[in-house]
């Protein structure tokens, strides 16, 4: 993979919670229209890493970022960058499904409404399209007015994915999207991640190695905030060059 193909890239990225250094000079490139998985044991900095990519950690007091984060070759932390616009371009799906206490329709329409005054026809078109992309349309098309809390956990997570897709981001970050839902729902979400990479660049954090092997093209293995190994998923899972990577993916620790 050459640098020119990278949609997002970090160079010497370090992150600090107060004095504690949670990420240690990470160089990770996320290729366009590919799925990049971030794996590693609990507390290795996976979630911290992904939250720096859309500057979600900006809102956490007492934290500090060092290094460069590039989106299409431009520094997302440059003063001229509007963080609100950046977060629209880089969507995020959280660990716990977080539907808003609104109707299914209003959840998906939320991002469009805060970013302008879309017509009713356009809203309906986008809601249907994104719910289809998120493989949820058939299950909810007759109950769009119902509160999103009436959905099951797996459906809620797919709703959150549709909601993220509706603002047409370029990159979508998944922060352990399946850790709170059952295996069947997990399979559906993995399936849909596979499909949406045609249109979007995907970064997924997961503690589930099989999931990383199934959905991703590239895998980065982190430990204690350090990048141990980064390469194609095939290489990482078949012929890892680092002993720690091998021990982790074969289940010897973690």
């Amino acid at each position: 993979m050459t640098v020119s193909q990278a949609k997002m890239e970090t160079r010497g990225l370090s992150f600090f919670y107060g004095r504690k250094r949670a990420l240690k000079s990470l160089d990770i490139a996320c290729a366009a229209n590919r799925v990049t998985a971030i794996i590693g044991p609990s507390g290795c900095g996976k979630s911290t890493f992904i939250r720096t990519l859309n500057r979600m950690n900006d809102v956490v007091p007492g934290t500090r970022v060092e290094g460069t984060i590039l989106l299409d070759g431009e520094d997302i932390r440059a003063p001229k960058v509007d963080v609100v616009d950046l977060r629209r371009r880089i969507g995020m799906v959280f660990q716990k499904p977080n539907p808003f206490p609104k109707s299914i329709f209003d959840n998906v329409a939320y991002g469009l409404r805060i970013n302008g005054r879309p017509s009713k026809a356009r809203l309906e078109e986008v809601v249907e399209r994104t719910l289809r992309e998120a493989a949820l349309w058939d299950e909810v098309k007759d109950r769009l007015d119902e509160n999103a809390f009436t959905l099951s956990g797996g459906q809620q997570q797919r709703l959150c994915i549709a909601r993220a897709l509706a603002v047409e981001p370029e990159v979508i970050l998944f922060d352990e999207p399946c850790s709170a839902i059952d295996p069947i729902a997990t399979a559906k979400i993995e399936d849909l991640i596979h499909k949406i990479k045609e249109k979007y660049t995907v970064v997924i954090v997961t503690h589930n190695m099989q999931q990383a092997a199934r959905v991703s093209d590239f895998t980065a293995f982190l430990m204690l905030g350090e990048l141990v190994e980064f390469g194609t998923t095939e290489t990482i899972f078949t012929t890892p060059s680092n002993k720690m990577t091998e021990d982790y993916i074969t289940g010897r620790f973690g």
Binding site: M56, V84, R87, G91, M92, K96, F100, Y110, R113, N147
Partner: protein
């Protein structure tokens, strides 16, 4: 511990809780029963619609009702927006620092200041310095200041119950901070904010000390024409009728009637809020 001893301990514990509950309920029931019994007879349409006559031994208490309603309106005008805005700032915008800790501490301490001290402060600030005179305006603003710590704290507690995932979820979709708060935090916090705020207002409506020096009058044979006029108020009227009147025996039934009207007014406010809150909750669920 054996199973039997556990059962005994549980029985004793529950009995204590039940006794506490009965004592609290009994206090309320006895109070209401006493006031309704002694004041119920006085409560007629004439009593709430007429001016007092013959040295307040006959006639109605319309000026006192109107005065309390108007003063509470001024109080609400100050305390509701300022309380909510302060709470939004403290909970959503202010970063944890020494300054915000001091602000919070000051607010908590203000809620412990005796109401008579607020009364004296109101005289200095509103009556004299700002030259509002002894008036509805001065008294309402004084009560508003007294209510602020309550409305701020209650509003902040309501905001704290909104999960952070609503805020982050909104920000992640490209919302500005204010958009996230306005569309995804405030609508869900509003029922709680309202409840706390109106409880504070109801308390203010029943206060005597802060309005005694700032605008409440012993007796006025006319209704106020503007908010710069002095006024009669239910709690102060009650205090006079119960302890200061020249003919206490004749005034006694009227005092109980006044107490009943004040109670009904406060209960009415709480009921309205309960209904509004239930409706907002239902809207949120469906």
């Amino acid at each position: 511990m054996s199973a039997k001893r556990k059962a005994v301990a549980e029985f004793l514990g529950f009995t204590l809780l039940r006794i506490a509950l009965v004592l609290v309920l009994a206090a309320i029931v006895i109070l209401l029963w006493d006031i309704v019994r002694k004041g119920g007879g006085t409560l007629t349409w004439a009593f709430v619609s007429q001016l007092p006559r013959r040295g307040m031994t006959e006639g109605g208490i319309l000026p006192a009702i109107l005065g309390t309603v108007l003063v509470t309106a001024v109080t609400a005008f100050l305390a509701i927006p300022m309380g909510m805005f302060t709470a939004i700032y403290l909970n959503e915008y202010a970063r944890p620092s020494r300054l915000t800790r001091i602000i919070r501490l000051a607010i908590r301490n203000l809620s412990g200041v005796p109401s008579i001290v607020y009364g004296l402060f109101g005289v200095i600030l509103f009556v004299n310095l700002m030259k509002f005179g002894t008036s509805i305006l001065s008294a309402g603003l004084t009560l508003g200041l007294m209510t602020l710590p309550w409305t701020i704290t209650a509003s902040e507690e309501a905001l704290k119950t909104i999960p952070n995932s609503y805020r982050e979820g909104s920000l992640a979709l490209g919302a500005t901070k204010w958009q996230a708060i306005r569309t995804n935090v405030l609508p869900y916090a509003l029922p709680g904010m309202l409840t706390g705020t109106v409880l504070g207002l109801a308390r203010a409506a029943g206060e005597t000390a802060p309005i005694m020096f700032t605008g409440a009058a012993f007796s006025l044979p006319f209704l106020p024409h503007s908010i710069k006029d002095p006024f009669m108020a239910l709690p102060y009227h009650l205090y006079i009728m119960a302890t200061q009147h020249h003919d206490l025996a004749k005034a006694r039934p009227l005092a109980y009637g006044t107490a009943l009207v004040l109670l009904l007014l406060v209960l009415g406010m709480n009921t309205v809020v309960a209904v509004v809150r239930a409706r907002l909750r239902r809207k949120r669920r469906s």
